[in-house]
Amino acid sequence: MVSPDSLAQAEYKYGFVTDIEEETAPRGLTEDTIRWISAKKQEPEFMLEWRLRAFRHFLTLVEKEQSPKWANVHYPPINFADGVYYAAPKKDRPESLEDVDKELLDTYEKLGIPLEEQKRLAGVAVDAVFDSVSVATTFKETLSKQGIIFGSFNEAVQEHPELVRKYLGSVVPYTDNFYAALNSAVFSDGSFCYIPKGVRCPLELSTYFRINAAEAGQFERTLIIAEEGSYVSYLEGCSAPMRDTNQLHAAVVELVAMDNAEIKYSTIQNWYPGDENGVGGIYNFVTKRGKCAGNNSKISWTQVETGSAITWKYPSVLLQGDNSIGEFYSVALTRGYQQADTGTKMVHLGKNTRSKIISKGISAGHGQNTYRGLVKVMPRASDARNFTQCDSLLIGDQCGAHTSPYVEVQNSSAHLEHEAFTSRVSEEQLFYCQQRGMSAEDANSLIINGFCKEVFQQLPFEFAVEATRLLEVSLEGSVG
């Protein structure tokens, strides 16, 4: 039986702290901070200039108090001037994986992401980001044989400045929104990925983001470019120690798919959600957007959001090329006092473009879950099609589910479908499962996994297993 009184906070298994000496930027946010970060990264001039432009824009937004207020999330004002915007292990990134600090290797091993050669996940190349820097990347050579560039953003700035210069901010300009402006000013590493023309990336590419430092926020940037006719599947995972203060994670992800290219981007988001009273946890304010720049290109977002105190993110697709396809599959779970305002934007620009949105929100405890989505069909986008399904599942009677679907159609040939339902795990379903011998907990997890199935099916196998397990762990104690 579902009993809100018995709601307990499931244990957060990734809440440990790595004891390692870190260097941090001086507290505060001024042009000097930006220069300090850029100098730290030994960046070329164009990067510093771009950062400074972003920063000046950010300051105008702060002045006009233009942080986003429309989302259905509530938190005290953030004092940006008092933040720490960079933290990194003191030792430089070593040339070879064998020389990576043992503390760091142990950390990733504990997180289930072994980096050492013999223990690695088969078929998955990993870029490991620790606070503000990438500390290791596996399978780099294997990939480079096919011309694939995969590694830290900072490296890409050094080694492929022309690519970075061409694409940085081309999908999410720093003027896009408040947190995109902040990120553009202070970002410090993340992953960079370039798939040359006609190459089908033989491995899953993956970045694991770990916040460790107590006070610093994490501001990474990911840029993925899929040239004509290429394919890549990319995964990101993340976690953070348990702390009683809130930490800011404001990332930007940009994807570019050329003619006939396909990018599949999956996220398993497990940032620390705060304790049972809603104290602590990550503010996850992220801008993710893909551009189907070429004809017949496809970008597909899959996200499983179980962590963070507050989630504010809308992985979106600009469907610019004719016949391009955008997809968004999402499971968002809020429990305890978690708040999520998440969804997508599908902007149809090209002819005969298609988009599909499958959103599954699960609310338990005092969790508040909002689906917010926009389907926009521009005048030139004839015969655009969209299918949207957003379903909510409630566990207990203290939680909330909200949906805010927006539609803007400027071409009368568009065809849009929308389905939505809200349900509770019904007593009849539970009884049916229990009558077949299952415990109430197992029955719940079975029913909830069934609810999420369409989304989990999109994940690569190992990650679907991981997502299922994570959901189970997260919901432990949600039923009495």
């Binding site: 379903q429 009884f431 009558q435 077949r436 011998g437």
Partner: protein, 252 residues
């Protein structure tokens, strides 16, 4: 084997069972017949442990074990199976996975071996023939989009997989056409054994021509008012339920 004494139960504040007494011996098939609202479904739900039904007094003992003290899943593990009158849909959960979860939970509780998907699949394919179920149905979501007949056959398949000591079949014949009824009845007959008892709840005599019971009970007004052999079912078929409770009062 099953001993029900003076069982009184209610739902939503309404008393539906008014002192049911029933003894089912090992290997017996007991039919319980009764008109609408007589308490047939309440009896099956109370025995299986549906949380909405409140037991007010009385007892139900299965091989010495007090059933009413156990939560639903433990009753299932003790060998009680309810064939649902209205099987529940579980969207997104594949039938074979659902069945394996139940099967393994029961086996685990008994310290028996749990089966991996491959082993389980082999077993399930073997049993699916009992109710003539297409293998493709085993991969569909539980009862989701199943026809009335498919739902009932699925219930019988589950019974075949879980091999219960006591099966309570709540109107397995309701809403079935002749062909589906025959499949369901054949399934039930194949699962009859000297070790297993069956309570077959029905409104109509029709199924009792196909599954011949050892004992026929008539439930009216929340009590067993008459008990007899197959001739009692035939009597009801010709004369209806009207007057059955008066027979009891006349005897009483």
């Amino acid at each position: 084997m099953l001993e029900i004494r003076n069982l009184t139960a209610s739902i939503g504040g309404n008393r539906v069972l008014n002192g049911v007494n029933l003894t089912v011996e090992r290997g017996e098939v007991h039919a319980i017949m009764g008109p609408n609202g007589s308490g047939k479904s309440t009896l099956s739900n109370v025995l299986a442990g549906h949380p909405q039904y409140i037991v007010e007094s009385g007892e139900a003992v299965l091989d010495g074990e007090d059933l009413l003290a156990l939560p639903a899943e433990e009753r299932a593990r003790a060998g009680v199976f309810l064939c649902f009158q209205h099987p529940v849909e579980v969207p997104g959960v594949r039938l074979d996975q659902f069945l394996r979860a139940g099967y393994n939970a029961i086996h685990k509780s008994k310290g028996l071996e749990e089966l991996d998907p491959l082993q389980f699949d082999r077993l399930l394919q073997g049993k699916a023939g009992i109710v003539n179920m297409e293998p493709s149905m085993l991969k569909r979501s539980v009862n989701d989009g199943f026809s009335g007949g498919e739902k009932k056959r699925n219930e019988i398949l589950q019974m075949a997989m879980l091999e219960p000591r006591l099966s309570i079949l709540d109107e397995p014949d309701s809403g079935l056409d002749v062909d589906s009824l025959r499949l369901v009845a054949d399934g039930i007959n194949q699962l009859r054994s000297p070790d297993r008892s069956v309570i077959l709840i029905t409104h109509y005599q029709r199924i009792l021509n196909l599954v011949v019971p050892d004992v026929v009970n008539v439930l009216m007004g929340g009590r067993i008012v008459r008990t007899g052999g197959v001739e009692l079912a035939e009597e009801i078929e010709t004369e209806g339920y009207e007057g059955q409770d008066e027979v009891l009062q006349a005897q009483g």
